[in-house]
């Protein structure tokens, strides 16, 4: 063989995320089975106990997220994962984590909904993910991978962001990114360096008493807490926006898509059909919150139109319109039910826009 030894692993996105979490120092995982994320739970069950951590198959999704509350309050890097219906069940716990300023990583491998939906890939949880999801005034950072390697890389990053900002971080994947297999490297992850957590309930004798809670019975206390969180959210908006652009900088039309939709739509940008009458670029938000509003607005001022491609009925498009603010027309290609936004469909939609371009 002429090639050198190939050290890449051939694993699914779910497994890549689990491996990255362990590399990031995750030492507590609790979860409850649901397709299409079971490979993640299975990998954790297999590996975490061998690598210094604790795996719990919880009796329910609620139990799992509340176990994270305890683990995080005690200072551990911790994670849970589920798919759409299970993530709905976890919302109360996520709200309590946010209200108690507790870092935690939550992975959603999206499937069809509402209700039990189906086990096919979907992006129908965008609103739930980006608007807080549970009750009350809070945000979570939301990271959206578009491939198996990136599912791992963003899961690793999620632990650092969660600790840095004392905030729950959601990794929003879907059934394609979760179950697809690609060659993956994990050896590049540096050893984790979690910050000191002087607020944690460590049971250490002699230090001042710590209290972790989300209750603020006094109106002024509650208002002050909100202002503190809002200031933090502003800082996150300034410092943590991530996105990727591909295609010509003077493109006529800008596709906006995340995750699986972006991965597929990029095919059209990299290899446009020869009879495409205009040029196309793609803007891919990697953080769905904070949304890359300013960068997208700059692009919108230069292009003749934007096309949002999403595996949902019109959720991402709302954030796009808020960012674009009328600088260019915004069109939508929604793909529903577990179908995928095939490159052929994207091309057809793009061509149908030609006569509208000014």
């Amino acid at each position: 063989m002429e090639q050198q030894e190939d050290t890449r692993m051939f694993i699914s996105g779910n497994e890549a995320a689990a491996e990255a979490a362990i590399c990031a120092g995750c030492r507590f995982y609790a979860g409850y089975p649901i397709t299409p994320q079971n490979e993640l739970t299975a990998y954790m069950a297999d590996q975490l106990p061998l690598r210094g951590g604790t795996f719990v198959q919880a009796e329910s999704e609620l139990a799992a997220i509340n176990m994270l509350y305890g683990a995080s309050a005690a200072g551990a890097r911790c994670m849970t994962s589920s798919s759409s219906p299970g993530i709905s069940l976890k919302q109360e716990g996520i709200s309590y984590l946010a209200g108690s300023e507790l870092p935690a990583v939550i992975i959603n491998v999206q499937r069809g909904g509402p209700g039990l939906g189906n086990i096919a890939p979907s992006q129908g949880d965008y609103f739930q993910a980006t608007r807080g999801g549970g009750h009350g005034e809070y945000r979570t950072i939301v990271l959206a991978p578009a491939g198996v390697q990136e599912f791992g890389d963003l899961t690793y990053l999620a632990f650092d962001l969660a600790d840095r900002w004392r905030i729950p971080v959601l990794v929003l994947s879907d059934g394609v990114i979760g179950q697809m297999k690609e060659p993956v490297r994990s050896a590049h992850y540096p050893p984790p360096q979690p910050p000191d957590k002087p607020w944690a309930l460590t049971g250490e004798p002699g230090r001042p008493r710590n209290l972790v809670k989300s209750f603020h019975g006094d109106v002024d206390d509650m208002a002050e807490f909100h202002l503190k969180l809002l200031a933090r959210y502003d800082a996150i908006r300034r410092e943590e926006v991530r996105y990727e652009v591909a295609g010509p900088p003077d493109a006529d039309v800008l596709i906006v898509a995340y995750g699986t939709s972006a991965r597929i739509a990029r095919e059209v940008v990299e290899r446009p059909p020869r009879d495409m009458p205009f040029s196309v670029a793609i803007f891919r938000p990697i953080t769905l919150w904070p949304f890359p509003t300013e960068a997208l607005a700059e692009w919108a001022a230069r292009v003749r139109a934007a096309l949002v491609v999403e595996m949902s009925a019109g959720q991402l498009v709302e954030d796009v319109r808020l960012a674009v603010e009328g600088r260019c027309p915004v069109h939508l290609l929604p793909v529903l039910g577990g179908r995928l936004p095939e490159a052929g469909k994207v091309v057809e939609k793009l061509k149908s826009l030609h006569h509208t371009l000014k």
């Binding site: 063989m1 090639q3 190939d6 890449r8 051939f10 397709t35 086990i119 394609v176 179950q179 697809m180 297999k181 690609e182 060659p183 991965r263 597929i264 990029r266 095919e267 059209v268 990299e270 290899r271 446009p272 059909p273 020869r274 995928l340 095939e342 490159a343 052929g344 091309v347």
Partner: protein
């Protein structure tokens, strides 16, 4: 459709759950990785482990792969009738389809597009002769490797050796034999 990219190959492997269609796709990917290539493997299956439909979409390329979805296939590997009916129209007119003729009645099935090549291999029959019906997928894989220039036989054998380890190690010899038998049938 988007422009063709030379050197990139897109294929679909389809059959029913239990025929080993996902294993064929995975082994092709591992073999291609051994040759330094990039791959994507996208499985799709029903809630059933056995008896439901199962397929995987595989892309093998020397460079970056964007869409992992196989809209127009360069190759199809078809193990049962239902999959033939479902996927044969996705074969490109310059493509190649390998069919398990033990599981597909080709007299009843519509022919592939003009120009497309169809190769039939009685894989399940041959596997039964070899003593284990479960090796039918390796016969298909061996025939496919011999028919296509996608991966080398040696890379495939390496992939098998890596896969059949631990409790599955006792199955390695049978599967290597089936791979070889398939290669002879495809040559």
């Amino acid at each position: 459709m988007t422009q063709d990219k030379p050197e990139e190959r897109r294929l679909i492997v389809a059959g029913f759950g239990g025929q080993g269609v996902l294993t064929i796709g995975r082994l092709l990917c591992v073999a291609a990785m051994k040759e330094g290539k990039l791959v994507t493997y996208l499985p799709a299956y029903g809630g059933e482990v056995r008896g439901g439909t199962a397929n995987c979409q595989v892309v093998i390329s020397p460079g970056a792969i964007f869409s992992p979805v196989v809209e127009a296939a360069d190759c199809l590997i078809i193990l049962n009738q239902l999959s033939y009916e479902r996927f044969s129209h996705r074969l490109r007119s310059d493509g190649m389809m390998l069919v398990n003729s033990s599981g597909v009645d080709l007299d009843e099935a519509p022919p592939p597009q003009d120009g497309a090549r169809l190769v039939a291999v009685p894989a399940a029959e041959k596997a039964a002769q070899m003593g284990d019906l479960r090796a039918g997928n390796m016969i298909m894989l061996g025939a496919f490797v011999a028919l296509s220039d996608l991966v080398r036989m040696e890379s495939c054998r390496l992939a098998l050796r890596q896969t059949f380890t631990g409790p599955k190690a006792s199955l390695l010899d049978l599967n290597l034999e089936a791979l070889q038998a398939g290669a002879q049938m495809g040559a």
